[in-house]
Amino acid sequence: MNTRTPTPWARIAFGIDENGGAPILVKAIRRGRRLTFSRANPEELSAPQPRAVLAACLFQRESFTRWLVAPIASPRKARTVFHSLLDIQLPFSVEDCQVALLAMGPTPDHTGTRGLVVGARRADITKRLESLSTAGFDPHLLDHEGIALWSRGLAEIPPIPGNGTARILIYSGIDRVTFVIGQGKEFMTAHTMRLWDPDAILRILKSSFPVQPEITQWIGSGPGTARPGETASHYAALMARWPGTMKVVNEPDAFLARALAARALTPGSTPCNLRTGRFLHPVLAEWNERQPYRWAIACLAAGLLLCLVNLAWQVAISHRLSLAQQTLRSLAVGITGSPRGLPVGQEVLTAKRAMEAKTRDMEPFLTASERPLQRLLNAILTAAREEGVSIETMTLGLKNGVIHGIAPKLGQGEKMARRLNGDDWTSMIERKESSPGDERVAFVIGMGRAREKK
């Protein structure tokens, strides 16, 4: 399930990791679907950039994540009970918290609905925003540290295929160690501690995985990972007791800042902004306020575009019809010789009538120049001579003809009739009674013009 980012208009995002007072700033630029990252200076934020956003995060220690399970299959109904379920689980009132539901789906047995909720106390959000403001930052988005680390980890180091693969991402910072536990692609939980404590990490791991999975993927990140000796020994100690593969992300010190910048620009399965409600950044508030105007203008533009396209289509069609009509009319005038008496839609009929009259008048010319009957007469006489047929009488006209003949065998007459069949004429032979005492076969060949030769 890909959801829009809270700032879909942004093309540039700055992600900030405060890193114990030495802030790390990463700038991400979106070009189509691609993101490019670069290190940035805080001065860059002071320059006005209308399509840029700044994303910071609430640390794991000042926020919480919970997977809630409602025994209701309908996600819509389950959503209404998550609030109460969360209230039961929290040691403080949920009314004092800013909460976001990041993901929701059916339970494995499809009888209930589970949802991933993140949140923080409003007092902590206020403190966090004040701390950022003191450092000179006014973030548009307040993401969640653990969720940001997990989602960026998936993007940069894909999980090892296989069911039940444990995946532990450790962020080793200057002032804290945060580790996120998941299975395959699914986030499970996130924890933080001030100092490296392998025992505590293993204890939490054992509570998350009562049976140690066959494959465990360890991922290292954070500025502390750059200190090879110290951190390497910590990882070695962990992996000796919980074996698995180990990978360190590229540029581990900027990993959290990169994660925050990337999440501000790309739609994903767990977009998160806890700076909402009364904490909402003025820029986002203004953008939200203008949203109904944008929709109205988009509808107006779509309506106008539809009108324009349809009108253009109507004009094009009527132009095409008028051209076709003009062509018909000019052809018909060329045949009838006059534009008068040519009603629209009757061009062919009128032209055909005019042609019939013209053809009648042209008959003497056509008959004399094409000589169809002369050719037929020659063909009959030649066929009769070659087939040994005697013609007794013959009457030929321009449209039909009859030949009375005698042949020693009917086959000769039939052969002659076949020879007279052609493009212009068709013929049929019929046997007749011969004169008494005559052994020859009498026949009649009837002929007709196959098609009117104009």
Binding site: P292, Y293, A296, I297, C299, L300, A302, G303, L304, L305, L306, C307, N310, L311, W313, Q314, I317, R320, L321, A324, Q325, T327, L328, L331, A332, G334, I335, E347, V348, A351, K352, M355, K358, T359, D361, M362, E363, P364, F365, L366, T367, A368, S369, E370, R371, L373, Q374, L377, N378, L381, S390, I391, E392, T393, M394, T395, L396, G397, L398, K454
Partner: protein, 166 residues
């Protein structure tokens, strides 16, 4: 705030109207599509049919143009027949004139030949066809002769065109 809201409502009304108009026009265009396609196809078929007729008109005009270079009156068929067959038994039965295209009349002549060979008949028709303007055979009736290669009686109806001088 109130002013903003009323502006937004007005904007939505205009947007809704324009969208409705666009959708109505689209529905109208879609419903018109099959009728227009059919109409265009019919007009194209008509144009093809008329083009064929126009070609025929062109051919007729070319033929008239050729005839306009011939002498106005055709050589009488009897003269042509006699020049081909000296001493043939020949009787002209009828000569008629019929209306033709403007400026021309059709001339028809019916001639009987008795005891004539088939070859001679062919030569007469060949000569008549080569004349300027030519004569064309319109009807032929032949009765066989007991003598091989001869025709006891042949009636030929010939036709030619005569130009009417203005």
């Amino acid at each position: 705030m109130k002013k903003n809201k009323s502006t937004l409502i007005k904007l939505w009304i205009v947007a809704g109207l324009s969208l409705a108009a666009g959708l109505l026009l689209t529905v109208h265009s879609i419903s018109e599509l099959s009728r227009v396609t059919e109409l265009l196809a019919r007009k194209a078929a008509d144009a093809r049919e008329l083009s064929v007729l126009r070609l025929q008109v062109g051919r007729d005009q070319t033929l008239l143009e050729v005839y306009s270079h011939y002498p106005a009156m055709p050589t009488p068929f009897e003269t042509l027949a006699r020049s081909t067959l000296s001493g043939a038994a020949m009787t002209t039965r009828t000569t008629t004139t019929l209306p033709s295209v403007p400026g021309w009349i059709a001339k028809k002549v019916s001639v009987d030949f008795t005891d004539i060979t088939g070859d001679d008949l062919g030569r007469i028709l060949e000569t008549a066809g080569a004349a300027q303007p030519p004569w064309g055979l319109v009807e032929a009736t032949l009765f066989a002769s007991p003598t091989a290669g001869r025709v006891a009686k042949a009636t030929l109806v010939m036709e030619s065109a005569e130009r009417q001088e203005p």
